[in-house]
Symmetry: C2
Subunit: 154 residues, 2 copies
Amino acid sequence: MHLTHYTDYALRTLVFLAAKGRPSTIAEVATRFRISRNHLVKVVHSLGKTGLIKTERGKLGGIRLALPADQIRVGDVVRRMEVNFHLVECFCPAHNECPITPVCDLKRVLEEAFEGFMTVLDRYTLADMICERDPLMALLQKEPTVAPPLAAHS
Amino acid sequence: MHLTHYTDYALRTLVFLAAKGRPSTIAEVATRFRISRNHLVKVVHSLGKTGLIKTERGKLGGIRLALPADQIRVGDVVRRMEVNFHLVECFCPAHNECPITPVCDLKRVLEEAFEGFMTVLDRYTLADMICERDPLMALLQKEPTVAPPLAAHS
């Protein structure tokens, strides 16, 4: 059970933008986190489409949070970035072939568990993720010891 | 975000054995759920290794629950059958390259959310999954309209 790299990188990008407090660039985020720039281009595009970041033009422009950090819930980021939440086959009507679906309680129990998961994430905002803002930025400003990867993590 | 097919099939197998109340076989479970027998062999092997089912020899033997259905928590099945719970990269020390790990609160929040997920699953046992035992068995005894797949679901 895991979140996609897509969601992972989206969360990192947003935490970085929240901590920096000024516009940044895809290149900067990729360098700071030592992750693939190609991969990040798609992540940032999605973050823009879903209204979590915006792009400012001009010399001091770049990408920035579309809302204050304390108004972006971690749960909303996960909801908007994950492809789906099909915990097991019967969550996906288009592909479900399980014959006991009409009378099985497992789906309801897994839905309740998923709600439990999201309820916790909805209690926190990006502002809660940067309580240690200064040490966080210091770690991100350290020079990487190895070159950033050219391809996405597998 | 999803559980593996492995866990999905393990849950179905256990629900079936709980509902049937007598020993069954891999072939029967595969036929009833119309899933790959090859895939199920591995699932049942794991269920045996982790102490959730046992095999009885003899003419009336087969696979059965190792404990009463009301003593097998759904959470324990998921815990034993999922490969890992590495929600994001920093959950896996062997592969983690995220530079802000020492001061980032995201891991703690995701761990808390995961606990919320498992807490719900631990409230239910296999016995809670078969409240509608008779209609469930009736659905499993219907003849499949198509032949069961030979290969595992993708």
